[in-house]
Amino acid sequence: MACAAAACHENGCCKDEDDEGLVLSTKKRTAEPTIKTNSVLVATASSNTITSSTEDSEHRHGLCVKCKVDAALAGDECNLCFGCFRASLFGKFKVTVTTKDLISPTDNVLIAFSGGPSSRVALQFVHEIQQKAQRNLDASRDKSYPVFGVGAAFIDESAISSISSHEFEQAIQDIRLIVSSLAPPAKELHIAPIGNIFSLDPNDGTERLKELLHTINDVTGKEDFLQHLRMISLQKIASDHGYTKLVLGSCASRIACHVISATVKGQGYSLPADIQYVDARWEVPVVLPLRDCLAQELKMLCHHEGLKTLELLDGPRSGINGLVSSFVTLLQEENPSRQPTIVRTAEKLTPFNFNRLPEIDDSSNHLPFRRRHKKLNFKSDESNTSEFFCQICNSPIKNSDLESLRSILGHSETGANIFGSSCSSCQFQILPKEPSSMEHFYSLLPKSMVARAREGICCNQDRLREQIKDCLLSDDEEGI
């Protein structure tokens, strides 16, 4: 097709039909009540293109396009002043928390705190709504309104990281300082070595972790596995200390990367499970209040507000994840609305039944805090809730993929066949290929993961059996 690079500049090229779809989706989008999926930066960037002449001149004068009083922040992407920028970012967080009912007054929330900008902002914003709730309580005559509790958790990965122990000690001190210097109500900080999920004995735990990671050859698989272990660690802390929600700082940029990585790893089916505001497939439900904020915005907030962050612990990603991360960064540079668009695409995929908070029939429903509660629109089709979950990454597995179980059941009768219900992605990039090393791998796994596997097998056994009955040779209960 005739198409010089420059010639295609303004048109859809042979993809012209696609613009139509884009128009449709944009229209559909604007019809929805919530606007927060558009990020602050993007909103300004796109309005900029519509009325470019007037805003260009304002931008040249350096005034905030919103309040038109204060100077806009320096930097090419943002044309808001700091006050308006912050208000809009916090507003986005607040709307998400309230409309999705992510935090309720009776909650005790644990914030996964890595020291990076996203979790730093999560800590800050959750802290601010807690303070607000506290002030409301203090001002009210009726002292019956509870204020939710907040704690922070830091997973200590020093045992397997290349950071020097001196630098690491410094980082831990910084983290303690960050959490302790927040105004009351006081927040407990939990620092747990990642080896804790393997063994109570720190040395033993570290050794097992190292050995386990050593069995994984694929760099991407290793990185992803570590990510799953991190989640187990956080869940353990949350459950050991009576937290009711786990807050992750996952932002739109991070989610956009996950959408692409999951696609590239063949996890299209389970993808919608990971990107919702609520993920209750864990013992302690996970919530993502910053899902609609860009990494760039969160970084900017930390920078301008002087929130200390620790970049040190956030190493570059490797393998497939590394490629995806640079690809998404490149796209974002080319078009500031690209990451939100990617998140929006994934948002249109059908979520799972566990992507909502379990219904709690408590009396708190009449509290003002819950008034704006918008019930997530799910059909409570309980027959659908019995998903099979990958024993490694906890992703729901597509029914037809269980067919691959047949082959595994075919030649393994040992405990290792419990991993028959691992997703194909984990089978490829994490699990050892040889049956003998599989048993070794299995023996090293943290107890909670093994427990999950057993539990999964138990719950799913009937359905599993149903699906594979034609290839089972005997009625041996141990078979699966």
Binding site: M1, C3, T263, G268, T345
Partner: protein
């Protein structure tokens, strides 16, 4: 499977991973297995045969047009389909269908290639030209509108031209040379654009079953590398580099580059992307706009007039911008970066 592992399984003596008899001649792009030439042809063709059978792409007695651009994909497709049709008695009547856009010095040569294919494989060839169908050649269009927007014309016209050619040939189906890399790229692009309706359709191996001429993609799971680099090279098929002269430095979009990078470190990523695309949980209520027919030419269209008729009207009235500048507002962003979002089809005249 990673490279080290394939090597270790290969065993002593450096023999073909499949037959374990001959010396390996290539590292198969899809699996990185080292295999001999003969085994490569065998698995390559057998895989495509399986795809055709498993997906019931053709029925015995059907007339099938192969979209033939003279480029690598369609040339290899013409070869493989005529070969498999003979070997497995599909009972198909195969035809080559080409489009002459009217680009001097470019299409002349590629059509020569298609004509040689016609003789080599003994497949009847039908050429439909923009000039005959629309009264305009691409050369004339470019003369009128310049190098801006010409791809819109070319793309819209080609799609219709293929359908009209297929109708003239009275075929039941049109087979195109879209390969696994193309599908993977389309999936990514639809994610990047937020186009859920196309995302749900783009992995279908057969499309347009409700329209006049269904299209199918026998190369849906075939790696581009295996098509170009090994197959076309070893079999020495006669094909033409389909780089458009209006696109001097064939631009490859970000997504294409990304897929090539992925393939380098994990060959199965291409198939994994397709698998994801097939498994996305998309509610069935996500539908494309209602299709009607163009009041002017009768071609399927969601609007009163189909795109080709709108574009033609503009050309004929001397207003070539008609039908192009319809995307404004929030799409300004999309337009600005269209260049980086293109798929490879824009840089080449392959189809």
């Amino acid at each position: 499977m990673d490279e080290a592992e394939v090597k270790s399984k290969k065993g002593p003596g450096r023999l073909c991973y499949i037959c374990n008899q001959k010396k390996p001649a290539l590292k198969r792009p899809k699996t990185l297995e080292q295999i001999c030439k003969e085994c490569f042809y065998a698995v390559f063709e057998e895989e495509i045969h399986r795809v055709i059978v498993d997906n019931q792409l053709f029925k015995p007695g059907e007339r099938i047009a192969i979209g033939a651009s003279g480029g690598k994909d369609s040339t290899v497709l013409a070869y493989v389909l005529s070969e498999l049709n003979r070997r497995h008695n599909y009972g198909l009547d195969l035809f080559l269908l080409s489009v002459d856009e009217g680009i001097t010095g470019y299409r002349d040569d590629s059509l020569e290639t298609v004509k040689r294919n016609e003789i080599q494989y003994g497949l009847p060839l039908k050429v439909v030209s923009y000039k005959d169908l629309y009264g305009w050649t691409m050369d004339e269009i470019v003369k009128m509108i310049g190098l801006k927007n010409n791809c819109t014309f070319c793309g819209v016209f080609r799609r219709q031209a293929l359908d009209r050619g297929a109708a003239l040939l009275k075929v039941d189906k049109l087979a195109t040379g879209h390969n696994a890399d193309d599908i993977a790229e389309t999936i990514l692009l639809n994610i990047l654009r937020g186009d859920i309706a196309r995302l749900s359709r783009c992995t279908s191996i057969t499309t347009g079953e409700d329209g006049p001429i269904p299209r199918c993609k026998p190369f849906k799971y075939t790696y581009e590398k295996e098509i170009i680099f090994t197959y076309a090279y070893f079999k020495r098929l006669d094909y033409f580099s389909t780089e458009c002269i209006y696109s001097p430095n064939a631009y490859r979009g970000f997504a294409r580059e990304f897929i090539k990078d992925l393939e380098r470190i994990r060959p199965r990523a291409i198939l994994d992307i397709i698998k994801s695309g097939e498994n996305f949980r998309i509610s069935t209520s996500t539908k494309m706009p209602e299709q009607g027919t163009c009041e002017r030419c009768g071609y399927i269209s969601s609007q009163k007039w189909c795109k080709a008729c709108v574009l033609l009207e503009g050309l004929n009235r001397g207003l070539p911008k008609l039908g192009i500048g319809r995307t404004r507002g929030p799409l300004g962003i999309e337009q600005r970066t269209q260049r980086s979002m293109q798929s490879k089809q824009c840089g080449t005249l392959d189809f």
